[in-house]
């Protein structure tokens, strides 16, 4: 009898298990505030790492919501709340504005001038263009120089092959990813592959598995495979500044493990959290860091990657048409 009763209960539980919708907030200022706060509370990956007390943020901002009268004021308030996260991958998108946090580069020296690169000392104006790359010979033809403006822009093996052939008599190569704000991780992986001899673990990634601030999956290795077609086996120097962000930061992380790779310039901008997105009841989109990425030593890369040779662009050099960071790279190659 007991067995039958137990079975009956088990069957009832099985058949009537709860599958209720997630409770959604109403489309009011308060409802949208609570929805945004909860998305960050449960899905943002750096609350603990950055020591952000998100409950305190709620306490501080919730009274302000009651004073809001217009949609734009409300947007600004929500934008300010997100700014507390100090994360360039966190944005709120409405039909009239996009909130952002830019202090990860505005609070630092620029360390880049495109006019220097296109000056007569370096590429000049008669440089070559292969796909998204601007390239040419510098330092009397002894150094190959590539400027890559955005990892949004894809490329093919042929682009790389053409450049490598052009640089075949060079002692080394400079890849300038300053002011490259990121883009596709696939492009990062592909570009790095030309500078590895064997597949190498160049980092790790995790993702949120629950609502808790420290609920993460086990780290998964991010590997950089060696290209089967093209391999550059001489020194390669990456030039970085604070605007080397997101996928560019991840490229620098990969290249740290390249046998011939050297990083010169300023610390990269970071942006080590792979962003995902969600939305509020009023239809606004929110982007947030969801999956923290780490370097090969399991160090977080959210705040950037230190260069092997920290170099700043000096005003004196700049006045003379000299890029201090490129000069350091040339010296290292020579």
């Amino acid at each position: 009898m007991k067995i039958k009763a137990t079975l009956l209960v088990a069957v009832l539980v099985l058949f009537t298990g709860c599958m209720n919708d997630t409770i959604t907030q109403p489309n009011t200022f308060k409802g949208n505030f609570e929805a945004l706060w909860k998305i960050i509370d449960t899905r943002y990956c750096y609350l603990d790492y950055k020591h952000v007390n998100w409950d305190s943020i709620h306490t501080a901002y919730v009274p302000k919501v009651d004073t809001v009268k217009s949609e734009m004021t409300f947007f600004n308030l929500m934008g300010n709340m997100l700014t507390e996260l100090k994360d360039g991958h966190v944005n709120l998108y409405s039909y009239f504005d996009k909130s952002r946090y830019w202090k990860w580069f505005t609070d630092y020296p620029t360390n880049f001038s495109s006019s220097l690169i296109t000056g007569s000392r370096y590429l000049g104006t008669d440089y070559k263009i292969a796909g998204p790359f601007h390239y040419g010979l510098i330092a009397n033809g002894k150094v190959g120089y590539i400027y890559y403006e955005s990892f949004e822009d894809g490329f093919a093996d042929q682009n790389i092959s053409a450049m490598m052939t052009y640089f075949s008599n060079c002692k080394g190569l400079i890849i300038d990813v300053r002011n490259n704000g990121g883009g596709s991780l696939d492009n990062s992986k592909q570009l790095a592959s030309y500078f590895f001899k064997v597949e190498t673990t160049t980092g790790y990634i995790r993702h949120k598995t629950g609502d808790g601030h420290s609920d993460f999956s086990a780290p998964v290795a991010v590997k950089t495979a060696a290209s089967k077609n093209i391999q550059w086996q001489r020194p390669v120097i990456m030039l970085t500044n604070r605007k080397s962000y997101s996928a560019t930061n991840e490229f620098v992380c990969r290249m740290k493990e390249s046998p011939q790779g050297i990083i010169v310039g300023d610390k990269s901008g970071g942006g080590g959290g792979l962003p995902l997105s969600s939305e509020l009841p009023n239809g606004w989109l929110v982007r947030f860091s969801s999956s923290p990425m780490y370097d090969a030593q399991m160090q977080n890369i959210e705040f950037g990657i230190d260069p092997d040779y920290p170099v700043a662009l000096t005003a004196a050099d700049q006045a003379n048409g000299i890029d201090t960071i490129i000069e350091k790279a040339i010296a290292l190659i020579k």
Binding site: F15, T24, D186, V220, P275, L285, S290
Partner: protein, 268 residues
């Protein structure tokens, strides 16, 4: 002695019953991987089924193939973004035929299917797409009730299908497709399903109307699916109008074969 061959009139020919239908429906999606909001919209679809005898010895057992393709677009309540949906389903099963009383025919059995769909929320960043991928063993059936009118046989028809057990793909809310498919981290992405975490009912209720030499179906279609995994509840509903045809067919081996006189249909 002369050996007499079996005449054409003595032999029964086993038909396939093929049904095709087009639908226009309202639909709604709730996919927490893409958005916590519910999206509502419209969709179109094509569905078909082929029923035939599994063997010529057991006329109560029929095999059934079912397939459908659907497309739709749905908007969030604020009309600031949309989800484009494309999906298809293919299934094969066996049904047992009953005639509980005069005029009513019931076919009920099991159907194994593969469901594949894709939802695209274009404006999302790094999570613009979520796949619906599952395989299920379903309870399926067909009920027909004959209504003789004006020397012709009208019918009320109800077909249904509901998942019992299976397997499905549902990623964790925080897992990107980059991590899953580029880095191969599919942890907790595949789930056993049964009534405890996946419930649904799809089917249609139609009136079958003979018209000249064809048979038409008109009616309503319902597709309701709800499932839970990784602390997310997904919902897909559509409800709409359906119009289609039904025909009994026999496949001939060549072009010179004479059309036989005696047929037997799997849905008679």
């Amino acid at each position: 002695m002369l050996a007499k061959a079996q005449s054409t009139d003595d032999k029964k020919y086993f038909l396939s019953s093929e049904a095709n239908a087009y639908s226009f429906s309202t639909l709604s999606f709730s996919d927490p991987y893409l958005s916590p909001m519910t999206y509502n919209g419209i969709g179109i679809g094509y569905s078909g089924s082929v029923r035939g005898f599994l063997t010529e010895k057991k006329l109560r057992i029929t095999s059934v193939y079912k397939y459908n393709f659907n497309a739709g677009i749905a908007l969030n309540k604020a009309y600031t973004s949309d989800i484009l949906y494309l999906g298809g389903n293919y299934g094969w099963g066996i049904e047992y035929k009953l005639k509980p009383f005069q005029g009513l025919k019931v076919q009920v059995g099991g159907l194994w299917d593969v469901d594949l769909g894709m939802k695209n929320l274009e404006r999302n960043i790094n999570n613009p797409v979520n796949m619906d991928l599952s395989t299920n063993l379903n309870l399926s059936g067909l009920l027909r009730y004959d209504i003789p009118l004006w020397h012709r046989n009208f019918q009320l028809q109800l077909s249904f299908q509901t998942p019992i057990v299976g397997y499905m793909f549902v990623p964790r809310a925080g897992a990107s497709y980059y991590e899953m498919f580029e880095l191969g981290n599919l942890q907790d992405a595949f789930h056993f399903t049964s009534i405890h975490n996946k419930r649904g009912l799809s089917g249609d209720f139609t009136i079958v109307v003979p018209f000249r030499r064809s048979v038409w179906r008109f009616g309503l279609q319902l597709d309701k699916l709800r499932y839970k995994a990784n602390n997310m509840v997904f919902d897909r509903s559509n409800f709409g109008l359906i119009i289609g045809t039904t025909m009994d067919a026999i496949r001939f081996g060549g072009t010179k074969k004479v059309v036989p006189q005696n047929f037997i249909s799997p849905v008679e």
